[in-house]
Amino acid sequence: MQTIVNFIIPLAVLIFFIIVFTKFRKKTPGAASSPYSSGGNSSSDSGDTQLPKLAEMMGLTFEDARIPTNDKMLMNSGSRLKGIYRGVNVDIIMGGYAKEAEFTPLTATYSYEYKITKEFNFEVSNPQNKSFEVILKNKNIVSQSTGISSFDSLFSFLGDLRIPDEYLEYFGTMGWMNLKLSGNVLKFTDSFFEDTMATKGTMIAIGAINPVWKCSARSFNIDYDNVISFVNKLVDLIEVLNIKKQQ
């Protein structure tokens, strides 16, 4: 009995206080800063005015696509550019949120969750269900050589629908791409920041110039002409592949 009093009870009390201290100590300031909050989807002042302007230039409608917010929300942004562009149904979604997690593990001091969506969707007609994917070269993915050296040195080409060499060369000169045709959607995913962060580190990613927006996460000033030129290139590709959906 004496042993329990002398040893086990103080130990239990100590563990209890450690858990209490761990749970309720001051929340980390670092937790509130999502690594992606300064990305191309940011709801910064410049982003708030630039994306509507881009929509106007492309003849698309702009929608505020933020999810319903609450007091647990740390970051919430959402822009949607929709409409018909050169006869193709285009849906550009740039947004994301970060919020305090509903559940925090017992020993963790703080938890938050986030989701970022940055994609350009083009509705196509693909009755044969052909597919292709252009992604950054990854040693884990089995892919075939396309014969275009500037492309093969950077990317993996997957799928059964070969795209013309001209486009492979174009992607090669861009230096980065994440494009996929699956079902009736051609989807460009803007994972440039995340890909650069994974391969070159965060500091380089923050300052790296996105080849589509022609700006970095640090300074989000869109080069409208470049974005429109890129969208035009993808619409050209849809036409060349003969998968344009009749509107």
Binding site: S33, A108, Y114, E133, N138, N140, V142, A198, T202
Partner: protein
């Protein structure tokens, strides 16, 4: 194609175009064995030294400390045995993201999850406290829910199949609809 055929094709070095293959990470296994072995040795030596000195003075403390030490050593040995058990099946252990689904073979247990049965995909990062999320990442888990059974499945825990991030990114791009839910960051004290 059956999951068994997928594993067989990878083992025979005949994977199909588009497959993403993540083999069992031997380096990580060895590092786990070495770390746990080292911890085991340190605790063993400390326990032995303390026991000898405590025996002369407090018999109750000696018994308690010995019990705790034995328990700790047993847990350490068990954790090492688990990794060694993994190593026995290491040649066949892998995750393959085919064009249709996920094949996971781990500890001689083969599972297959078609992409359209995967929902609530979630990655959990664990960070040291007081550091920005972009700097120091400790571990990462990848979980999802199997629509067929409703069960939560842990696909990856830490670096057992190498860096989990590429697995998550490729899986996220291959699953259909809005099955990707979120990334979660948990912060812990060092």
């Amino acid at each position: 194609m059956t999951p068994e055929t997928v594993i067989e094709k990878v083992q025979n070095n005949k994977p199909e175009n588009g497959w993403a293959i993540f083999k069992y990470n031997l380096k990580y296994a060895i590092s786990r064995i070495l770390f746990r072995g080292l911890l085991f040795c340190v605790v063993l030596v400390m326990a032995a030294a303390f026991s000898v000195s405590a025996l002369k003075t407090h018999q109750t403390s000696f018994i308690l400390f010995t019990l705790v030490s034995v328990l700790f050593i047993l847990v350490s040995v068990l954790s090492i045995v688990i990794v060694i058990w993994e190593l026995f099946y290491s040649k066949k252990s892998m995750i393959v993201l085919t064009n249709e689904g996920v094949v996971k073979n781990f500890k001689n247990s083969l599972e297959y999850f078609p992409f359209d049965c995967i929902t609530n995909l979630n990655a959990t990062n664990q960070y040291s406290d007081s550091t920005p999320a972009i700097t120091r990442r400790r571990d990462q888990y990848i979980d999802f829910r199997d629509k067929r059974t409703g069960k939560s499945i842990n696909l990856v825990k830490n670096r057992i199949f190498g860096n989990p991030e590429p697995i998550f990114n490729i899986l996220k791009s291959r699953i259909t609809g809005d099955s990707f839910v979120s990334v979660r960051n948990d912060f812990y004290n060092n």
